[in-house]
Symmetry: C2
Subunit: 152 residues, 2 copies
Amino acid sequence: MIYTVGEMAKKLNVAPSTLRYYDKEGLLPFVERSGGGIRMFKDADFEYLAVIECLKQAGMVIKDIKVFIDWCIEGDSTIEQRLNFVDNQRRAVIKQIEQMQQTLKMLEYKHWYYETAKKAGTCSVHSDMNEEAVPQEFRDVREKVKGLPCVK
Amino acid sequence: MIYTVGEMAKKLNVAPSTLRYYDKEGLLPFVERSGGGIRMFKDADFEYLAVIECLKQAGMVIKDIKVFIDWCIEGDSTIEQRLNFVDNQRRAVIKQIEQMQQTLKMLEYKHWYYETAKKAGTCSVHSDMNEEAVPQEFRDVREKVKGLPCVK
DNA sequence: TATTGACTTAAAGTCAACTTCAAGTTGTAT
DNA sequence: ATACAACTTGAAGTTGACTTTAAGTCAATA
């Protein structure tokens, strides 16, 4: 099965211009062209672009992705670099997940905070709430944001 | 304890210009000034900025953070909006964590891929590797990237 | 074969989030 | 009192990741 840039873009739920941009930046050296110069995406390219999407969403910038692809093209002489690269990326993602989980904890606290405030009709229920009324899992977060100006 | 913009920036490990930018964008309405106009950050502002950092790293844009802060200032009449906002944000973060875990899985596969290739001195060990030699946890990822042009 | 919608490129435009610059002010240390 | 590092502002510049525009080409259909 062969797809034009528009068809592949629809499959990936991105704008066609995004794929053209990736191509221009050297991220798609494997995409072949028709005699008239039209890009012909294959099914494997869908998975390939999904991997790129994955790396991007992990916080990798396009230039770094290009570096990695260039190493892949260069062949076995760059295995060490690629191992290194993947390792750094892996560590960065682990760190990011940890941070995200911190953020989630805070948002869950805030969720409880505003649910409670909503029931009471005012945020001031929280200022004279005794420790026991605060669910166990929120006590440490609450302690941290206690002194904040307003955005608890 | 009181800090200047430079001192607080150092504590937060950001550039002073970043804090001035946040201030200009309305993210720091609680930071007071000296008679001469110099920002005076307090200890509570450190926690406050840490929360902002958290929201930012969760993918929230500065304008949205400002909207939230403005709601906080407005008071109890905006509790419902804030609950809604926090809830959406929470859902988005959960989704992001799930995606990150997918990415991590892929990077762990690649880590194994290049470790193995390094030992063998070539990536071609993978093309004629039988299923049993692939660790259980990598088999599904491997299947997905099997047909990829080069960047497996 | 003519039309038409989707493709092509290069170049310019946009947006968020900063950063840098220029010109001037503050406040501490000698 | 004077120097000097760090502060202030507004405005312009930068970077990354696209998006839009303009001018033209391709290829499937009537």
